[in-house]
Symmetry: C2
Subunit: 227 residues, 2 copies
């Protein structure tokens, strides 16, 4: 086999290994009735800001926890822990995305039955996380008004695997001259029918709608478990 | 060899293959006396905006060309081509960074002797491009005020391999409440002594300084060729 063929084989093996572990994680999440959300975006799109506000709003009524991935620093875990909910930082070193085994390791000391909702905040990267299932129920893609309207078109692999798109920082749409309708239309062009929320974690726009979406999904999952 | 060991071996081989090709590219660039700049940042940090303004200012007095990488769309090439300078789009599909062979292929029909300056606009990604030498003389890292002050700390691999840091979108520092001094201090903490420019491609701040830096480096390289 040539070098390129060998690389493809290894890559397929890595992805298959991840798929297997993700399936195990998904079964664990299912048994515990915990609803799992994988949050993916560029660096600086506001993942941590959104989750910080979300966790503060939900905890402790909804039993929420989070794992957050970064190459370096525990900044995000520190911010999310302000909510009072359990949080683990995953330090990936030079790795550009989270894989299922990192999530499994990070949550290994938790009792999943203790939680209704688990957030997985991925490494800031619009490309590589797309290929790695983490056993989540919902993949949420953030795209900030500050990044420009064309990002869904330029990063189709993420857009195509997202279940919900959160347009973040809409309070900044005017100063950065972002046409939010065009951004939403571009999301819908790549992923027709995708649910799109327009939010500002700072100002509060769209946050109630986001919390309602989460509550409805959590309720549906725990009802399925009770059956 | 176990699967992880095999993966490491293949990864080392990919990197080594890239190093070899990058060395060839660098020798070609050297012979032609063309100064090459690899521009790396998150999606939406303003790489294209900066290069569009830069190329319009330099062309045709400085003989400039550009190759630009994206997963999909030719938007960036179209924007850069407005300058009148030669531009090639590299479509990477699902690939999260440019490699030396993609650059070699993209420039294969050009005569390098025709150029003083070649920009390589990388795929929007703060992680993966860091490991791939493209034969460039200068690696420029962009970080936008809209991304927050902590990005140099959270993405140290890029920061550590950058020669120059361009803080972009400083016209937006106030509305997004970015402390530009803190952002600069974080860059300097990870990469002590790195040259830092504070720019707004839209408003023009720092652009003369950026053009002066490029002109000085181009002059030094063509003088070296003449020797």
């Amino acid at each position: 086999m040539d070098s390129a063929g060998e690389t493809r084989t290894i890559r397929r093996r890595i992805l298959q290994h991840n798929e297997d572990l993700a399936a195990e994680l998904r079964a664990d999440f299912e048994r515990a009735g915990v609803f799992v959300v994988n949050v993916v975006s560029s660096p600086g799109s506001g993942k941590t800001e959104l989750l910080q506000r979300t966790m503060a709003a939900l905890h402790p009524g909804v039993r929420v926890a989070a794992v957050t991935g970064d190459l370096a620093t525990e900044n995000d875990a520190d911010r999310l822990a302000l909510s009072g909910a359990p949080v683990r930082q995953i330090l990936t070193g030079t790795m550009c995305h989270l894989e299922a085994d990192m999530v499994a390791e990070a949550i290994s000391e938790w009792q999943l039955d203790d939680f209704d909702l688990l957030f997985i905040e991925n490494v800031g990267n619009m490309v590589c996380p797309s290929g790695f299932d983490l056993g989540e129920d919902l993949r949420v893609m953030l795209v900030a008004t500050t990044e420009g309207e064309d990002k869904p078109l330029k990063y189709p692999t993420l857009t195509l695997t997202a279940d919900v798109a959160v347009i973040s920082k809409i309070d900044l749409a005017e100063p950065v001259e972002c046409d939010v309708d065009l951004l939403a239309a571009n999301l819908d062009e790549v992923r027709p029918g995708i649910e799109i929320l327009r939010t500002s974690a700072k100002r509060g726009d769209g946050i109630e709608q986001w919390l309602d979406l989460l509550r409805a999904r959590i309720g549906a999952k725990s009802a399925a478990k009770a059956d």
